[in-house]
């Protein structure tokens, strides 16, 4: 053991190994999720999707990765070179940084912050810089328009995401993500998306409100991650590829990885906030099936829904997108906050009756 800065080295090394392992697992998982995205999309359109590289095309993402990495990085002559390179790095780093507080199983979290939700909101709000700086630094019309669209869109939907999260936080009384997951233990009727605890009839008032919040969060997550039907920043029929037009090879790859990481993060957020995290839907087989299975299963299911939406729904027009965010989501989520906080004031938090002494 070497002592540097007063701490023992093995601790630091252990943490570093954990982080590297986490990043690698996340990236490999992402490679297969990307393939799943394309496969689902293909299935909806009655195609086969990628099926050449490896069995069932399982290695397609790795082939794409190698292809991106071995190409030449082209930096446009008129671009702002430093910012042009900085933008994809910002996107990737913030996308990875948010994952530090996501709990995947009991105790499986890089950093169990007490202000976890706030941390997620703070770091993910930085992701927009990658897009806006990238769009501006390209010094080209389409990327610039894409960046402007993206900024307005992401800021608008961040507001509604914030309000939706407040309803969950009111019910739990903690910003710690592990606490939020534990508040939903016991079965799917305790999950914030459903709230169907028939042993406590008055809590059924919350069911329609929270289910609506769940749906709103899902749609806002689509808009926040620039997924169809809200992929206006990169709408290929209008802006070629939006802010990514001038990017090639590795910088483009960083943008894409960051974007997909954000999508998976939103799936994980939905799982943690509304679908009970690592808790099983019914209290059976808890001894045999590890909690991580449920967490990953729920995340993959949510990702499947994201992929289905991409395959099925046509793109929104920009003014309709803004109208939806500001005139529909914002007022209704405000009303939901009033209802939930009134409920909490009158009857207390729903899960406190079961687990005394928490919160």
């Amino acid at each position: 053991m070497i002592e540097l800065f007063g701490m023992e080295w093995p601790w630091l090394v252990w943490k570093l190994v954990q982080i590297i392992l986490f990043v690698v697992v996340l990236l490999v998982g992402l490679a297969f999720l990307l393939l799943m995205d394309r496969k689902v999309w293909a299935a909806v359109q009655l195609r086969r999707g990628p099926n050449v590289v490896g069995p069932f095309g399982l290695l397609q993402s790795f082939a794409d990765f190698l292809k991106f990495v071995f190409k030449e990085i082209i930096i446009p002559a008129g671009s702002d070179k430093i910012l042009f390179v900085l933008a994809p790095i910002i996107t990737l780093v913030t996308a990875f940084g948010v994952w530090a507080v996501i709990p995947a199983a009991p105790g499986w979290v890089m950093s169990n912050l007490n202000l976890g939700v706030l941390y997620i909101l703070a770091i993910s709000s930085l992701g927009v810089y990658g897009i806006i700086i990238g769009g501006w630094a390209s010094n080209s019309k389409y990327p610039f328009l894409g960046a402007l669209r993206s900024t307005a869109q992401m800021i608008s939907y961040e507001v509604s995401i914030g309000f939706i999260l407040i309803t969950v936080l009111l019910l739990v009384g903690s910003l710690n993500l592990t606490d939020i997951v534990n508040a939903q233990a016991g079965g799917f009727w305790n999950w914030h998306a459903f709230m169907l605890d028939f042993s406590d009839p008055k809590s059924l008032i919350l069911f329609p409100v929270m289910f609506y919040m769940f749906v709103l969060f899902f749609i806002s997550a689509l808009a926040e991650t620039n997924r169809p039907p809200f992929d206006l920043p990169e709408a290929e029929s209008e802006l070629v590829a939006g802010y990514q037009v001038e990017y090639s090879s590795t910088p483009y790859l960083l943008f894409m990885i960051g974007e997909y990481l954000n999508i998976v993060l939103m799936c994980a957020m939905l799982t943690v906030m509304f679908l009970g995290g690592w808790h099983a839907p019914l209290d059976i087989g808890g001894g045999f099936i590890p909690p991580i299975f449920w967490f990953v299963g729920k995340v993959v299911f949510m990702f499947f829904l994201f992929a289905m939406v991409k395959a099925i729904v046509p793109r929104y027009r920009y003014d309709q997108l803004m109208r939806l965010g500001w005139k529909v989501f914002l007022p209704t989520s405000l009303v939901a906050i009033v209802i939930v906080s009134t409920y909490v004031m009158m009857f207390g938090r729903p899960y406190m009756s079961m687990t005394v002494g928490v919160g």
């Binding site: 912050l113 007490n114 202000l115 941390y119 700086i133 501006w136 800021i155 910003l175």
Partner: protein, 204 residues
């Protein structure tokens, strides 16, 4: 080197970054670069908040200033078509005024520091042990300063309404979508089935 020195080291690194970045905000030629440096300044200040044990304020600073305010700055600066070289000409002209403002701020800081040296903890309310950041701030904000808090909220609302009233213009001839009208449209109102006799056509 011991672990006790780490916070001090972090403080000097963070404050040096903050000051350096703040200088670059006014020194850099490109306004977009200025905004990027401004973001760096906000980040370093958030780091200082963390060092003080105010994680809530740090995250709030990042969320509000970096995540929203600076984005809008950047938005505006990118869209503006101002000759910034020309604007830089007035830099020396305004130096005295800027110097006076800086001196006032410096004097205030020195006064505050001196006051806390003479009477430690006079103007500063520390959180009691065991309460988290949010609880401490919430307690003060919603009990002692509840009136001011509400007043600030009202002022902000007023400012918001004012800004909207100032910028919202009614223009003639603009086609807008009326969603409720669209949804209320039925088959009966929208489609008319006409039985046309062969060789006659519609309209006589």
């Amino acid at each position: 080197m011991s672990v006790e020195m780490l916070p001090g080291l972090a403080f000097y690194i963070l404050s040096a970054t903050a000051v350096g970045m703040a200088f670059m905000v006014i020194a850099s030629r490109n306004p977009v670069h200025s905004v990027v440096f401004l973001i760096g300044t906000f980040f370093a200040s958030a780091g200082l908040f963390v060092l003080l044990g105010a994680e809530f304020l740090a995250l709030l600073l990042i969320m509000v200033y970096v995540g929203a305010v600076a984005v809008l700055f950047m938005f505006v600066v990118m869209m503006l078509d101002v000759d910034f070289v020309e604007m830089k000409q007035g830099f020396l002209q305004y130096l005295p005024i800027g110097g006076v403002v800086a001196c006032i701020l410096l004097a205030e800081m020195i006064l505050l520091g001196a006051a806390s040296l003479v009477n430690p903890g006079a103007g500063v309310k520390f959180a009691e042990d065991g309460t988290s950041n949010i609880e401490a701030i919430g307690n003060v904000l919603y009990t002692e300063y509840a009136f001011f808090f509400e007043a600030v909220g009202l002022i902000l609302l007023l400012a918001m309404v004012g800004a909207i009233v100032l910028t919202l213009r009614k223009r003639d001839g603009v086609k807008t979508q009326n969603i409720s009208e669209q949804i209320a449209r039925t088959r009966e109102g929208g489609v008319e089935l006409v039985d046309i006799k062969p060789g006659e056509g519609i309209g006589s």
